[in-house]
């Protein structure tokens, strides 16, 4: 079923009118309510009056992750903090995390788009869903939670981890839908086998997987192992969390809910639109959000987009799976990891900046693993093993406390880490994505 047939199947002209109306209102709203955006628009010589239709969006300046960081924690909000009902936090590039806030209306919007997501994946009211995304500061758990309640599902808020308990709940309660990261879905299959459960016999028939990149090969593995339909969900906390785009059962791209999140795909260098179907950076404007509306937010995710109507009847544009990033961020177990965070830690520990490298790997049926190689320099070298081990342990602890993700630290000899043109390669992603 289609949750909001009116908005999701609207003709292109009507949709454009809705988007134009909303953009006009948005421009006036942020100019009035956000000092940061007022200054940005003034500096650009743009007045809300210049925004007449959605095509005028090109006149507006971009918003970046750095804008979020510089306005930490609440500077970019368009509403006073007392009007914000919920706050979520994700990792930032250095130092400060990224903070997002939702008004009551924003939470309604979140529930609405997540209800669309779940219907898109094949859920029907009355289904039971096991939500194994983390609940808490991460947007995954609660976003699914609100949407599932909105569309009338029975919710098991299992949160992440405790795999044996997850499997027991599945086996005893028989939920039809599973929501978690794709690597966790595969990991649970291995666990299931080890405790004598047959994954093929499981009650899970629909999977809504996201928060980390995954490949078609991985989809096939999940679908054949669990005998389920595995769909891809896309979102980022700056825009709303999960709920920006979702695959329908035709699995022909992710439907992006463009009546509320207006997409552009641009050349990250020039800022100009790329040709339809070509790869570029996804830029999103939140057309109706109130607490933290964002204008032309640079997601740094590389996608392609197409506008033709889908076989399912939805007219929303569809984006490809994320094929990369314009920066060096990697996502490990749903957590955003920036090499600059590691740099920060190393600098803080020894007052030196050794060469380092992140290696992320996903062995078959296992969760992502992050290994940090650190080249030993004279400053940090000791003839005593215990001091070197203590150093390893200290780096590990500090990185884990900042990232919130398990890492392995390995000291390596100088010049072990491959350099290209003198610059060390910071990230090696061995996952087949």
């Amino acid at each position: 079923m289609i949750w909001n047939e009116k908005m999701e199947c609207m003709g292109h002209e009507d949709l454009k009118n809705v988007q134009s109306d909303r953009l006009r209102n948005l421009a006036a709203y942020i100019y009035k309510n956000s000092p940061v955006y007022k200054n940005k628009l003034d500096a650009f010589g743009i007045s809300p009056k210049d925004i007449k239709s959605i095509d005028d969006i090109k006149k507006l300046p971009f918003t970046t992750k750095e804008d979020m960081r510089d306005s930490y924690p609440f500077g970019l909000f368009s509403r006073q903090v007392k009007d914000i009902n919920e706050i979520h936090v994700s990792s930032g590039t250095t130092g400060n995390p990224t903070v997002v806030g939702y008004t009551k209306d924003d939470l309604k919007l979140w529930a609405e788009v997540m209800a669309r997501v779940l219907c898109c994946a094949g859920a029907v009211p009355g289904d039971m869903i096991q939500i194994a995304y983390g609940y808490g500061l991460f947007t995954g758990g609660l976003g699914f939670h609100y949407g599932a309640i909105e569309m009338g599902l029975s919710v098991i808020p299992a949160s992440s981890g405790q795999t044996k308990r997850q499997l027991k709940i599945m086996d005893d309660f028989k939920p039809r839908i599973l929501a978690c990261t794709p690597s966790y879905a595969l990991y649970m299959a291995e666990e299931a086998k080890s405790i004598g459960l047959k994954p093929k016999d499981s009650s899970w028939k629909i999977g809504v997987f996201g928060a980390e990149p995954w490949s078609e090969a991985m989809r096939k593995a999940i679908e054949s192992t669990w005998d389920m339909c595995a769909t891809d969900v896309y979102g980022l906390s700056e825009i709303i969390g999960p709920g920006v785009a979702q695959e329908c059962t035709h699995k022909a791209g992710l439907h992006l809910f463009s009546d509320v999140f207006y997409p552009e795909v641009i050349d990250p260098k020039t800022g100009a639109d790329v040709k339809e179907g070509s790869k570029g950076e996804l830029v999103i404007t939140t057309l109706t959000k109130q607490g933290l509306p964002l204008i032309r937010y640079r997601t740094r995710d590389i996608v392609s987009i197409k506008y033709e109507k889908c076989k399912c009847g939805r007219t929303s544009p569809r984006i490809s799976k994320i094929s990369g990033r314009t920066d060096d961020m990697i996502i490990v177990r749903g957590i955003n990891v920036f090499p600059s965070q590691i740099e920060h830690v190393l600098l803080g520990i020894e007052g030196t900046q050794p060469h380092y490298q992140l290696i992320v790997d996903r062995r078959s049926g296992d969760l992502d693993e992050l290994e940090v190689l650190v080249e030993v320099e004279e400053k940090i070298f000791s003839d005593e093993i215990k001091k070197l081990r203590a150093l390893e342990e200290k780096i590990k602890k500090e990185i884990e406390s900042i990232l919130g993700v398990f890492v392995r630290v390995r000291l390596v000899e100088p010049r072990t880490i491959e350099r290209s043109e003198g610059k060390a390669k910071r990230v090696i992603d061995k996952r087949i994505l």
């Binding site: 320099e377 004279e378 070298f381 003839d383 093993i385 390596v412 000899e413 100088p414 072990t416």
Partner: protein, 143 residues
């Protein structure tokens, strides 16, 4: 009266020990004592050689991380209980041994051991006061 030890960081990879030994051999530097301390993924090679400064310069030029540490060479009677007697003296004076290892050869009927103490100077004083012979870097050529 101290010895100079070269410590070298080595990853646990095939051929790394060989690389160090070949480099020193080709440059006519003689290894007199060595030990490898290991952890999961790396080890520290500790060497006593006849020409430590020259050896260190060579190693660093080849990209090894190496540093110099002062250690103490001690002659221990080569008989049952010989080492225990030396350790007893050190223990009585609260001198902590970080690590120790033996020489590749022995001088006459005495075994040569090297010690890394937390405080080398105090250790040397105590050993000498107890008539235990301490070997210095200048003795290296003669051994």
């Amino acid at each position: 009266m101290k010895l100079i030890q070269i410590s070298i960081f080595l990853e646990n990879k095939k051929g790394r020990l060989l690389d160090v030994c070949s480099l020193l051999g080709a440059n006519k530097i003689n290894i007199r004592a060595l030990t490898v301390a290991e952890s999961d993924n790396f080890g520290v090679l500790r060497l006593v050689v006849d020409k430590p400064q020259e050896a260190t310069t060579l190693l660093k030029a080849k990209g090894f991380v190496a540093n110099l540490t002062e250690i103490v060479g001690v002659e221990v009677p080569d008989k049952p209980g010989g080492l225990a007697d030396v350790l007893k003296i050190l223990s009585k004076h609260n001198i902590n041994v970080e690590y120790m290892y033996g020489f590749l050869e022995k001088a006459s009927n005495r075994a040569l051991l090297v010690f890394r103490f937390d405080n080398s100077d105090t250790a040397i004083e105590v050993l000498k006061a107890n008539k235990i012979r301490v070997v210095g870097q200048k003795d290296m050529g003669a051994l």
